[in-house]
Symmetry: C2
Subunit: 230 residues, 2 copies
């Protein structure tokens, strides 16, 4: 069945003529010229989805945070560091975009101030508060924009209660589907080669995996083409 799905995807090119924009990887939020806040996203899931979308015939733009992956062939890559840069790049690429898939692990918060010089420990005490401000919600802003793509997909990296968080995210962010995965499991998710996901829409749930991230990417692109068809 896996093979059928994959073969159908790449022989019939169901996304031919479609523009797909994908965000991937972590963001880095600068504290000063050398220090930053980040997270454990490897970018592998997003890069695999970009590759799958390209094989399915789509014109693909990959907006990528700092990762150590080779960019897939035939894909436009826009490299960014911070959440604010990713936000701008996302909105600059919405024109005639049909599908937007937010796989990036965007930092929810950034340091309120970025120091231009490296902060010296001498200037600080033993305890220190790092004031943070909330970053804009990229996927929600895309889903609510005037240039909203037909299909907007969010990812949810959770450590508990996947389905409830996915449903809440679906509504709050006004997206068409949420792909939830459990990042507390060491066998799947962040940094791993494999993943297990729960595909949640308004009226469906589908569990897929554990499978390689390539297979999970095919499942997601297959689900997206089904969604575009209806």
């Amino acid at each position: 069945e896996l093979c059928q799905m994959t073969c159908a995807l790449f022989s019939s090119k169901p996304l031919l003529g479609k523009k797909v924009v994908i965000t991937a990887g972590p963001t880095r939020e600068a504290i000063d010229p050398v220090r930053y806040l980040s997270n454990h996203s490897s970018g592998k899931m997003g890069y695999a989805i970009a590759h799958a979308a390209s094989l399915a015939g789509a014109s693909v733009t990959l907006i990528s945070g700092p990762v150590s992956l080779e960019p897939p062939a035939n894909i436009t890559v826009v490299n960014v560091n911070s959440a604010l840069e990713m936000y701008s790049a996302a909105h600059e690429n919405l024109e005639q975009c049909d599908v937007f898939i937010g796989t990036a692990a965007v930092a929810d918060y950034r340091p309120q101030n970025t120091a231009h010089q490296k902060m010296k420990k001498d200037q600080q005490g033993d305890l220190l508060n790092l004031p943070l401000v909330e970053n804009p919600d990229i996927i929600a802003s895309v889903a609510k924009s005037e240039q909203r793509p037909a299909c907007v997909i969010a990812f949810a990296a959770e450590t508990q209660d996947l389905e409830n968080y996915a449903l809440r995210k679906l509504e709050k962010k006004a997206v068409d589907a949420v792909v939830a995965n459990d990042v507390s499991r060491s066998d799947i998710g962040f940094g791993s080669e494999r993943n297990e996901v729960l595909w949640v829409t308004k009226d469906s749930r589908q569990r897929f995996g554990p499978e390689t991230k390539t297979q999970v990417a095919h499942f997601i692109i297959h689900s997206v083409t089904e969604m575009l068809r209806t």
Copy 2:
């Protein structure tokens, strides 16, 4: 002259029978299971020094934070994530250590609390304080320990006023030399293949580079052998 220095280093094996411990790379300080504080250290300088020390005949232990580098051959590598793990690994490897070189960009601060579940944005406001506590000073604790190696070298990544900061660090941390470099320059230092350093001891200053990190590593190991001889 470069070649002379390098050739002398590797033909006469001046560090034969010596144990050298080197820290390298950044540390990562966990905020919760997915988020962390870190910095832009690539680990290249430390790995190059480890390789140079090994070629000079030393028995080398490399205590490495998370980097994407191949460990050099014939070197014992101890992988760590946080500053506290690096501190423990450093002290566990001091026995019969002759030279300790701290190239790691150790996080000065870590989050006061590490959440066991991923923190949800819903539970927070638009503004947030991340309370931090100071990490132990690894290089100073090594230099002041009962098992102090004969030669303790600190690195200083600065963005201004290199020599003054280096001198202050030399005294405060009780080390034998400080290798200072300017990380605000994009042509050298963090992530770059090249580096320019200022070697500062109680009674000498020596500027070296810009050169490849391999050449800078040879310069440092050469300076260390000179220091052990006197």
